[in-house]
Subunit: 522 residues, 2 copies
């Protein structure tokens, strides 16, 4: 609808459609009448436009909730309006959102949360004593015994103590509560640490090394902060292993145009699902020590290890085992979250980071920066507490808790194997073992004719593929280009979170689609 | 402890204190042994230091949780260790944290939250039907009917609808759910909008107009974003009123060195407690329209109005009542929160913003930016829903809800008057009426000798005053210099949240301290 401009003298008030200060309903009626009487009025130019906005924010990309997900939303609306499609529902396999895929919350976790939320329930006989004990402990550490108080910016003290005790048990090396910071999910911690680290201009601008493929939070935050993204490629031929020679190559090349100061590791890998060997972690730590890089270890999938020959080793543990020269020098921030693992509590936005060897003055700066946002959600902090302090053998809830946890993790392991096996039966799809995390990231053959068709639609070839998959099957996955991949290769990321039977259906639909796609563009 | 450096050849591995890959406990033991054997080892230089860190973050200041609060924490620890002080507890009157000061949560809000957290309770006869109805509605809008799922980045759909309905009822002018964004407290919304708005370099860098005194979130975010802070002064002689001539002066001067594009308003004021008249809001909107400024209206204290001759008017309402030329052109973001009002649910980090007249392309950019952090805490979103959708007359919980709400707000009104009256009885303290919000911001006389003493301690005079107050009485307030004030004037901000009797004690202690301070430095 084209509208004619209305001339209004600058400095004089425009004619209002009635006297100011009139009653609300008449004002609303008049505004609506004005709209009808003067449909030709044009809006003036906006202050905030694509041209005037923050260029760093404009440059941000985040594929996990990008165009394909907007399209999925549109299709869902069409289905609701009764528009016929070759499918009846959209399956959102684009994001690691366990509960949305039907996974049930861990009972014990929710019991403690309910008790903290509404402490009258502490008198109810229908809640177990061990849940009440934990709720009382959390509440005693909250101002006014309420989840509604702000916590310290670094997080509730006793929860930080519980996190430190958890890390100490996990690693067999000591953790200090003073080095623990509770966060609003892991994303918040990662972006806070990067925010501290970025400085300099031109060739001395901070470079941040990230794996390719990566989780796009990293590239997005690097862009927001106007830092320099330094890519190192994971070795697809070798189960997406991290190779220190490749780190060395990337670093050497980056030094021409920036000051690489940070090395980010995702272990287990997202989207790639590899689990790093202890040897690999040692090599990476030695490299960071040698090259003076600040290490960021994203370990949110530490409970999600499925391959029988893989085990999770934390960077913190290996660092300490490598001896004093490393453990007292390498600056390391490691991240964990309530969103993944067996609990899948994404909505609470709980997480923590442990930061070691931070300069004492920087510690003050970090706390100051955190304090501007006051504190992470206290309910998310409480959820984190239950994750690091679950029922112990002999406690009332132990058996049910263990059963629920094993059910989720056992099923994920089954689904990881199922997905790998099924994808590898399809011509033109190659899938590395899903050693950990909760995604498949198969490589797909896209025929030259399809690449041309994509180009004519101004789309990346794998975006074109994923859009077609969505439109024809209702399955929403994220194109590999959203995570980064070697040029000329194509992938997509799909979660393995749907229940087993549903996942089988999904995988068969992908297979059928793929074969049809190959045929159509061959 | 001074330590001697250990020479380690670059590129070769430092000697580990034992073979790698040994068992955890022995590793820990050896690490600890190493610590004892080689106490003279020095840490290398850190990568992240005050010199190398992000200079914008270094420049951030946030007084509400600044040095005085760190000192308060130290004093609390000393009290715990049995160290004798002239008081037995620290009273944290530095921050608007209602529950920490003993205010009880609103029962209905917590009942709905508990039902959402642990849906088994939906079968319990001890929860009222109206609470269950709201919990069911929220859960039906969550993926997998769980608060543990991610929501849409903009927030849960039905909650955005409830917010829009609330605004429509409040203002008598329509609100569109599509313009509502749920946030992690109001702070998150404010910093997100500012992040979008900042661009340019040198003289074309974005200027952001903020009131002085201000809530220091604004100055902190402006510093983080390397934007230009443009101060306009509130009129202390006139109950901290906002004067458009002063806006005009500030804008004119700022245009010499930056591009002022944003005007921030806090109404009711923080720390100043004034409530803007409808006329003043009209003038501000006209000014923003005329000068092409993007308006940010921080309205988190909208329920906290105490003076009988004051009323809260939202910027959105006044904007619409001023006619189509304004309502279809002025870009306005308004903010609300679960943290203040009568509910005081700070810990949940709930909030929303309504953004109108945003360019459609920018809307896409905003959603993209929000999506990088996935979503605001869903529990905070649920809390926000209950605030905008409380029990209605005729519903089971209405009476109790109204009683609890009135109790909190009635008490706050009493305490506002009490505080104003008592401060104004003290020679050397002048306090404007606390028309709204939850703080007193009295002006204090600091004698020349005290100013000198402060300078010799390298402290701002009001920091010196507040530190002495803390050390002698245990009362923690924030110096006016943390909010900004006209040069040569001194203030502090104190919450009026302690229960009435306790607040009386606090006020009398401040009075006694102040008289003693005047005497000591006269």
């Amino acid at each position: 609808m084209q509208r004619a401009a209305v001339l209004v003298r600058r400095g004089s008030r425009p004619r209002a459609s009635g006297p100011w200060g009139r009653s609300h309903s008449s004002a609303a009626a008049e505004a609506s009448a004005a709209l009808k009487v003067r449909p030709e009025r044009s809006p003036r130019d906006r202050i905030l436009t694509l041209e005037s906005m923050n260029p760093q924010v404009k440059a941000v990309e985040y594929a996990v909730r990008g165009p394909i997900v907007l399209k999925a939303g549109e299709i869902e609306m069409e289905l609701q309006r009764g528009i016929k499609k070759p499918f009846t529902e959209v399956i959102r396999a684009n994001i690691g959102d366990a509960h949305a895929m039907g996974q049930q919350p861990i009972t014990f976790l929710r019991q403690v949360m309910a008790l903290c939320t509404y402490p009258n329930l502490l008198n109810s006989p229908s809640f177990p004593e061990d849940a009440k004990k934990r709720a009382r402990r959390i509440l005693q550490a909250c101002g006014g015994n309420s989840l509604g108080s702000y916590s310290a910016s670094q997080g509730v003290n006793c929860i930080r103590e519980d996190v430190a005790a958890f890390i100490t048990r996990r690693d067999g090396v000591p953790a200090d509560p003073d080095n623990i910071y509770l966060t609003t999910g892991a994303s918040d911690g990662i972006s806070t640490i990067l925010k501290l680290l970025v400085s300099g201009g031109g060739k001395s601008r901070t470079g941040v090394m990230i794996p390719i493929p990566q989780y796009p939070l990293y590239s997005a935050v690097i862009s927001e902060l106007d830092a320099v993204q330094v890519n190192y490629y994971l070795d697809e031929e070798n189960c997406w292993a991290l190779n220190v020679d490749e780190l060395r190559r990337a670093l050497r090349q980056a030094k021409d145009h920036c000051d690489p100061k940070v090395l980010c590791i995702i272990n287990p890998g997202n989207p790639t699902g590899q689990v790093q060997s202890r040897k690999c972690i040692e090599d990476v730590i030695h490299f960071a020590w040698e090259e003076k890089l600040f290490l960021l270890a994203d370990e949110v999938y530490q409970d999600n290890v499925y391959s029988p020959d893989c085990r999770f080793h934390s960077f913190k543990k290996v660092l300490y085992q490598m001896g004093h020269e490393y453990s007292s020098n390498v600056e390391l921030a490691s991240f964990h979250s309530t969103s993944k693992g067996y609990m899948g509590e994404c909505g609470y936005r709980g997480g923590y980071m442990e930061v070691i060897n931070l300069h004492p003055e920087i510690k003050g700066q970090l706390v100051k920066l955190l304090s501007v946002r006051l504190c992470p959600p206290v309910s998310g902090q409480a959820a984190m507490d239950i994750v690091v302090n679950p029922p112990e053998p002999g406690e009332e809830s132990f058996e049910q808790f263990s059963r629920e946890k094993e059910f989720v993790l056992g099923n994920l392991a089954k689904k990881a194997k199922l997905t790998e096996d099924l994808f590898n039966q399809v011509p033109g799809i190659q899938c590395n073992p899903l050693q950990g995390a909760m995604y498949a990231f198969p490589r797909i053959l896209i025929p030259a004719k399809a690449v041309e068709a994509a180009q004519s639609h101004k789309m990346a070839p794998d975006m074109f593929y994923c859009m077609k998959l969505l439109e024809e099957t209702g399955i929403c996955v994220v194109p590999g280009s959203g995570f980064g991949q070697r040029e000329g290769t194509y992938h997509f990321r799909m979660t393995i979170l749907p229940p087993v039977e549903k996942l089988k259906t999904v995988l068969h639909k992908v297979k059928d689609f793929h074969l049809k796609f190959l045929e159509q563009y061959s």
